[in-house]
């Protein structure tokens, strides 16, 4: 229970930081962070497929791999077409660091404990990313095709959030 509160607190502070940071970011930074967020979820999914033996968790991870890869391929195509280079930034770095810490925690776990932390994190992660994309990135972006891409990606990420919520409930972790 304590861990749950703790991770919720971290998620909330990251969210505040995230939303605030998003307001001052330019198009190239936003593109970088959105792409990074997808890549990090792909890494979580690879870890889940290596560790978890739960059918639901594995199916979810497979879906994350497939969907985030598709969105990021579209992002790469757009970046190539626009001939621009996304810019690394504080928010991308914070996401990368946060994910590295979470992966370290996950790697020390197995069985149901792993499944619960993975599922809970997928829910929290999609909540934070979705809120940031919706309330901060999409309104801030000035290049129309990037705005469209983010809007369409958000549809996918929201489905993931709903799916993660069901996964958390199904695992009965608390």
């Amino acid at each position: 229970m304590k861990t749950l509160f703790l991770s919720a607190a971290i998620a909330t502070s990251l969210l505040a930081q995230t939303v605030q940071a998003g307001e001052k970011m330019n198009d190239l930074e936003i593109a970088h962070t959105a792409y990074t967020a997808g890549q990090l979820d792909i890494r979580y999914a690879h870890l889940a497929l290596a560790v978890s033996e739960n059918t639901e968790v594995r199916a979810f991870a497979e879906t994350m791999l497939r969907d985030h890869a598709a969105v990021n391929t579209a992002a790469v195509n757009l970046i190539t077409k626009l001939n621009v280079t996304p810019q690394d930034n504080d928010l991308s770095r914070a996401l990368v660091q946060g994910a590295a810490d979470k992966r370290a925690e996950l790697m020390s776990l197995s069985g149901k404990a792993f499944d619960c932390v993975y599922a809970q994190n997928e829910l929290g992660y999609h909540q934070v990313v979705n809120k940031t994309v919706e309330e901060s990135f999409i309104p801030a972006v000035t290049v129309e095709p990037l705005k469209e891409l983010l809007s369409e990606a958000l549809v996918t990420f929201k489905v993931h959030e709903g799916h993660a919520e069901m996964m958390v409930k199904g695992l009965q972790c608390a």
């Binding site: 497939r66 969907d67 598709a70 579209a74 369409e152 990606a153 549809v155 996918t156 489905v159 799916h163």
Partner: protein, 109 residues
């Protein structure tokens, strides 16, 4: 002795003939997959006609029969697949990747 396809299927017991087969030519109906939904969710065709599914989402989807005995295969963005239904009946289906996505094919004689 060589078994023909039908005998093979019977011999295998559980394996039934797929109710939908890959089709060529103009489909009688089209289902757009958009924002994680089949549109329209319910289509009616005559036996022997085919349906085309087109995916407009970034996320890959499938149209897969509830009994997993027919399937479009993975449809990436802008991919399409057509399947022909020869036998009257109702064929509920879902997306194998996002099972909350549901649709229904109704085949009349």
């Amino acid at each position: 002795m060589r078994l023909n396809r039908r005998q093979l299927c019977l011999g295998a017991g559980a394996v039934a003939v797929a109710p939908a087969l890959p089709a060529t030519g103009a489909p009688a109906a089209r289902v757009d997959i958009h924002a994680f939904a089949f549109e329209p969710a319910h289509v009616t065709i005559r036996a022997g006609e085919s349906i085309e599914w087109i995916n407009h989402d970034f996320a890959p989807h499938t149209a897969t029969g509830d009994e997993v005995n027919w399937d479009t295969g993975e449809l990436e963005k802008n991919d399409s697949a057509s399947l022909r239904f020869d036998t009257p009946g109702t064929y509920p289906y879902f997306c194998a990747y996002h099972p909350h996505m549901r649709g229904m094919v109704e085949v009349i004689s």
